[in-house]
Symmetry: C2
């Protein structure tokens, strides 16, 4: 099947190998995206379950527990997709333990309201980013990611609770605005860490020889979009971004 | 509609009122059973989520989170059944906050293994009791209760982990056997508190004028059954009851 090229190298094989490598990297990018999502869901479960303990009423507690358990439903769907791709979810999550754990360690909510803002603003930002990355993976993975991320039932609840708290005490707004900015700062710093360490994930965005990605201008536009929707979320809460 | 009886009392109305009262109490018994189950599921969610934080591996953590989220699925089904009966789950759970919270306060697991034993032995005992009570409620409620309680996926997992730990260190067996006995002692003491305060729940078991229940001999046989299956669970774990 392989004809020797004039220079003696089996030309078409070299070409195939490059494509295979690119394919492998492309696939690894999808696996990384699913891995980061899966670990994100698990972390969100833990955090929502813990924040639920600070809930002022039993109804709030039920709300948080319901949200937490929904993360596990999502986790299971992501795990199943990884299994379709012959990847163990535990292996796929491995690279993301450290950045997520650091993020959560540096952003421990001091009270119930900070927990709510973190769940809405922090997860909102992360989810927007996952959606951007998902544009570059295979259609089946993309559909799953969009579907899992479309679950926005938490938003109205948080907006209502936070706005009520700010109306009752104006100073709460200032404190939570600072908190929202810190959350995004920490999230960006951990995202940079992931980008530096996970070539496969990064090259989904930037593209490879065989597959076009975003150039620097496109990446900068992506960040503008992320900041814009973040600002929208903050203003829905009645907070300055 | 009401004929005066010879003694001047409106006889048939008195009879109807008694039946209505008995019906109301019967219905309240079902509502109490669903209420105690709902609050039990919520408490189990919190406890499993918290115990998951002590999990030695990420796979164990995923297992605990999955179990925790299943409690919320059960909770939602119980809540829906209560809604069918025109009862708000929050109201139905109210009488059971104090006994459950006391139980959990007095039986805080000191480590991962104690948490596992509590989830298996404590919940097993409570579930057997709910099943006994469910024999006396309406068929639809009974079917739901049996179905929710049939979810025993946790058992094999706990048995495996606990037996492995005992094989590695015999002293663990002695400590966990004591722990299992304490759990049942505390559970019985809280159950007595509930029985004393919730006439509707108690009279499901003991019956009313219009509806036969268990006599003392039957109640004593019920306790024998509960202790017997508790002993079976302990011995599956390799522990003396």
């Amino acid at each position: 099947m392989t004809d020797a090229a004039p220079d003696g190298r089996p030309a078409s094989t070299a070409g195939e190998t490059e494509t295979l490598d690119a394919d492998r990297e492309y696939r690894q990018g999808a696996v990384d995206l699913l891995g980061v999502l899966a670990y994100g869901e698990l972390s969100a479960f833990e955090r929502l379950a813990e924040d639920g303990r600070l809930a002022p009423t039993l109804a709030d507690k039920v709300h948080m527990a319901t949200l937490a358990s929904r993360q596990i439903d999502h986790f299971q769907r992501v795990r199943d997709r990884l299994a379709d791709l012959d990847v163990d979810v535990m292996v796929a999550m491995q690279p993301f333990h450290a950045p997520f754990n650091s993020f959560h360690e540096y952003t421990k909510p001091k009270d119930w309201l900070e927990g709510l803002v973190k769940a809405y603003v922090g997860d909102g930002f992360a989810n927007d980013f996952y959606r951007e990355v998902a544009a570059f993976v295979d259609p089946e993975t993309r559909a799953l990611v969009y579907d899992v991320l479309s679950d926005q039932s938490h938003a109205d609840y948080v907006v209502d609770k936070v706005r009520t708290a700010i109306e009752a005490d104006r100073r709460v707004g200032g404190r939570l605005a600072l908190w929202g900015r810190r959350l995004v700062g920490e999230a960006l710093s951990q995202a940079q860490r992931v980008a530096a360490e996970r070539d496969a994930l990064t090259s989904l965005l930037t593209g490879t020889v065989d597959r076009p990605g975003m150039d620097l201008a496109a990446i900068s536009r992506m960040f503008s979009r992320l900041i814009e929707t973040h600002t929208e979320r903050m203003s829905k809460l009645g907070l300055q971004a």
